[in-house]
C-alpha cells in the first residue's frame, strides 16, 4: 500500500511542479544577492543569508531558511491536505476502501507518502542550494565558521548540514499531521489545506505576541529555526530536542485523532 501511495505521489506532475516552485525562490534570492551584493542587515532576513556572501557552502542552509517559514509548510499542507480529502473528492476513496484497503493502513500509507514528499523536497532544496552556492558564490572548500565563531571542517559542515536537513524535515511533520487530520474531516482538499495553513498562521502570529508566551512552547512553529542551533559551537541541543519532541507529540496526538475519526467515519463521497 505504501508503495502504491508513493507511486501515486511521485507520478503526479503536481508533486514535481511544487518542488520546482520551491526551488525557484532560493534561486531568485541568490541571483538578486549576486547582482546587488546587498547582504541583509544583522538580525534581519533569513539565517545564513548574510554568511553566504562569505562562504557559498552555506547556501543549502540559506535555501532551507528561505523556504522554511512559508513555502515549505504551504507545500506540505497542500500535499497532506490532499491525501484523504483529495481521494474523497475524486471518488477514488470509496473504491480504495471497497478494494478493500484497511482504513488504518490507508492513513499510515498516506502519512508515509507525505513524509517521503517532505524528505524529497527538503533534500532537493538543499541539493539545488548546494549547486547554487558552489557555482554562484565563493565556496570555501576547507570548511567554514560556526555561528559561535569557531572554525568548522568540511566534514563538520556537511555532517551538520545533513542533521539540519533531517531536522527541517521533522519540523514539517506537525503541519503534515494537522493537514492530514483536517483531510479526514472534510471532503475538500482545499479546505483541509486552508485549515492547516490557518493553524500555521495563527501559530506564527501567537509566537510574536508576548501575551501568548505561556503557550509559546507548544506552538508548532516554535522550534522551527532551531536548526540554526546545530551550527553553534558547542551544538545547542535544548531547542532541537524540544522541537523534535513537540513535533512527535503533534504527530501522535493529531494522528490519533485522525485515526479515531477516519476509522469510524461514513464514506459518503
Amino acid at each position: 500500500m505504501i508503495v502504491v501511495e508513493l507511486r501515486k505521489m511521485f507520478r503526479r506532475p503536481r508533486t514535481w511542479a511544487t518542488i520546482a516552485v520551491l526551488n525557484a525562490l532560493p534561486l531568485l534570492v541568490a541571483v538578486l544577492l549576486l547582482l546587488t551584493d546587498l547582504a541583509p542587515r544583522a538580525g534581519q532576513g533569513p539565517p545564513f543569508l548574510s554568511a553566504v556572501l562569505r562562504n557559498g557552502a552555506l547556501y543549502p542552509l540559506a535555501a532551507l531558511a528561505i523556504v522554511l517559514p512559508l513555502f515549505l509548510p504551504i507545500a506540505v499542507a497542500v500535499v497532506a491536505g490532499d491525501s484523504i480529502a483529495g481521494e474523497a473528492q475524486a471518488g477514488t476513496l470509496r473504491y480504495l476502501l471497497a478494494r478493500p484497503v484497511g482504513r488504518t493502513r490507508l492513513l499510515v500509507a498516506k502519512l508515509v507518502a507525505v513524509l517521503a514528499f517532505v524528505l524529497v523536497t527538503v533534500v532537493v532544496v538543499a541539493g539545488v542550494g548546494y549547486v547554487i552556492g558552489s557555482t554562484l558564490f565563493d565556496a570555501q572548500p576547507i570548511g567554514g565558521t560556526s555561528v559561535s565563531g569557531t572554525p568548522l571542517t568540511s566534514a563538520d559542515l556537511s555532517g551538520r548540514t545533513l542533521l539540519a536537513i533531517g531536522y527541517v524535515a521533522v519540523s514539517m511533520l506537525g503541519v503534515a499531521a494537522f493537514a492530514l487530520l483536517f483531510s479526514t474531516l472534510t471532503d475538500s482538499p482545499l479546505g483541509a489545506t486552508m485549515g492547516a495553513l490557518a493553524v500555521l498562521v495563527a501559530s506564527s502570529l501567537l509566537f510574536t505576541l508576548d501575551a501568548a508566551s505561556p503557550i509559546a512552547p507548544y506552538l508548532p512553529t516554535r522550534y522551527w529555526l532551531a536548526f540554526v542551533d546545530l551550527f553553534r559551537d558547542p551544538i545547542q541541543w535544548r531547542d532541537i530536542t524540544r522541537g523534535l519532541a513537540l513535533q512527535g507529540l503533534y504527530v501522535g496526538v493529531l494522528l490519533a485523532a485522525a485515526w479515531a475519526n477516519f476509522t469510524t467515519k461514513d464514506i459518503t463521497s
Binding site: 502504491v4 475524486a90 471518488g91 473504491y95 478494494r99 478493500p100 484497503v101 484497511g102 461514513d266
Partner: protein, 306 residues
C-alpha cells in the same frame, strides 16, 4: 442455493433522518438482483453499507456468509463494485489506474497483475487502450474502465450502481451481454438502478425501496405474471362491451380489458360477432406499473403542506 447478501433490520440514521429504515434483503447465489428505488430512497446508502463504507446504525449484514463490516478484509476481495459512477486518477492511464487499484489491496501476485489487468480491459472492450491519461477518456470509456476495475478480482458478487450510465445504446447492449455472460459463469449480480427497462431485461429478482423502506421483494416473473385478463385492441370498443357484457373490466380508447386468460377464446367470440380485432394479448403488468403501485410519489417532490 446459498445466501450471498442477507440483511436484517438494517437501519441508517443521519441525525433525525432515517435514510434506511429496517431493510431485510435476501440475495441468493446466481440471482441477477434488481435494486430499484427513486432518488433518495436509500439505495445508495444501502449499497455503501453492504460494502462497509457507511456504518449501519443498527441491523446486521452478511455478505458471502460473513458478517460485515467486521469481515470486510476477507469478504470484499471477492466482491466487485461500481459505486455511484467510476472514479480514477485523471493523470494516469487506464492501465496504470487498474494496476494501482490491484496493488492497493491484498491477494494476487504482482507477477500476474499485468495479465489480470489486460483481461479485465478486454472484457469491457478497452483492450486496445493506449497510454492516454484517464482525464482524456469519454464518459462511456470511464464507465467501462470502472467496470473493468470491478471485474479485476474475478468476483463472486458484483455490486453495480447504474452501470450503463453514460453509455450509448451499443455500449448499453454490450454491458448487458457482458453481465449476462458473467451471470452464466456463476457470478451473482446486484444491480442498483432506476432504469426500469434495464432491470426488466436483466434481472430475475427485484427489490423496491421507498423512503428507506423495503416495499417489494419478489421474483420478476411473479410480478409480471399474467393477470387473468386479455387485452383487446379494436376500433369499435363499444361493440365489445355489447358482445362480452359483464366480462369487460375497463375501456381506454381502443384498448379493452376483458376477463379471461385465453386470448384465443376471446378472439373467437369477437370474430364470431364480426367485431374487427387489431391486436390481442394476455394482460401482464409492466414493471413500471408494479413499481409505481408499490412506491407512490417520488421523494424528490416537496409538496406544499395544506
Amino acid at each position: 442455493m446459498s445466501a450471498v447478501i442477507t440483511t436484517s433490520g438494517l437501519v441508517k440514521q443521519y441525525g433525525r433522518l432515517r435514510a434506511v429504515d429496517g431493510i431485510d434483503l435476501d440475495v441468493q447465489a446466481g440471482d441477477v438482483y434488481g435494486f430499484l428505488g427513486a432518488n433518495g430512497s436509500g439505495k445508495t446508502t444501502t449499497v455503501r453499507m453492504l460494502l462497509g463504507l457507511v456504518l449501519p446504525t443498527s441491523g446486521e449484514i452478511e455478505l458471502l456468509g460473513e458478517r460485515m463490516p467486521r469481515a470486510g478484509r476477507r469478504v470484499l476481495p471477492r466482491v466487485g463494485a461500481l459505486i455511484e459512477g467510476p472514479a480514477h486518477y485523471g493523470h494516469l492511464s487506464g492501465r496504470e489506474n487498474l494496476s494501482l487499484l490491484d496493488a492497493a489491496g491484498r491477494g494476487g501476485s504482482w507477477r500476474t497483475r499485468r495479465r489480470r489487468v489486460d483481461h479485465a480491459l478486454d472484457q469491457v472492450g478497452l483492450g486496445g487502450i493506449g497510454r492516454r491519461p484517464v482525464k482524456a477518456y469519454s464518459l462511456g470509456m470511464q464507465q467501462r474502465l470502472g467496470l473493468a476495475g470491478a471485474l479485476l478480482r474475478r468476483p463472486e458478487l458484483l455490486v453495480l450502481d447504474e452501470p450503463t450510465n453514460g453509455l450509448d445504446p451499443q455500449g448499453i447492449s454490450e454491458v448487458r451481454e457482458l453481465l449476462l455472460e458473467l451471470h452464466r459463469g456463476g457470478t451473482t449480480v446486484f444491480l442498483s438502478s432506476h432504469l426500469l427497462a434495464e432491470v426488466e431485461q436483466l434481472c430475475s429478482r427485484v427489490v423496491v425501496l421507498d423512503r428507506g423502506r423495503l416495499v417489494l421483494q419478489e421474483e420478476l416473473a411473479t410480478l409480471t405474471a399474467p393477470t387473468g385478463c386479455t387485452v383487446v385492441h379494436t376500433p369499435t370498443p363499444e361493440r365489445v362491451r355489447g358482445t362480452l357484457d359483464g366480462r369487460v373490466t375497463s375501456v381506454d380508447g381502443e384498448r379493452v380489458i376483458v376477463r379471461g386468460s385465453d386470448p384465443a377464446e376471446v378472439n373467437a367470440l369477437l370474430v364470431g360477432a364480426g367485431i374487427p380485432v387489431s391486436g390481442l394479448a394476455l394482460e401482464r403488468p409492466t414493471l413500471e406499473e408494479v413499481v409505481l403501485a408499490a412506491a407512490g410519489t417520488s421523494p424528490d417532490r416537496v409538496e406544499a403542506r395544506p
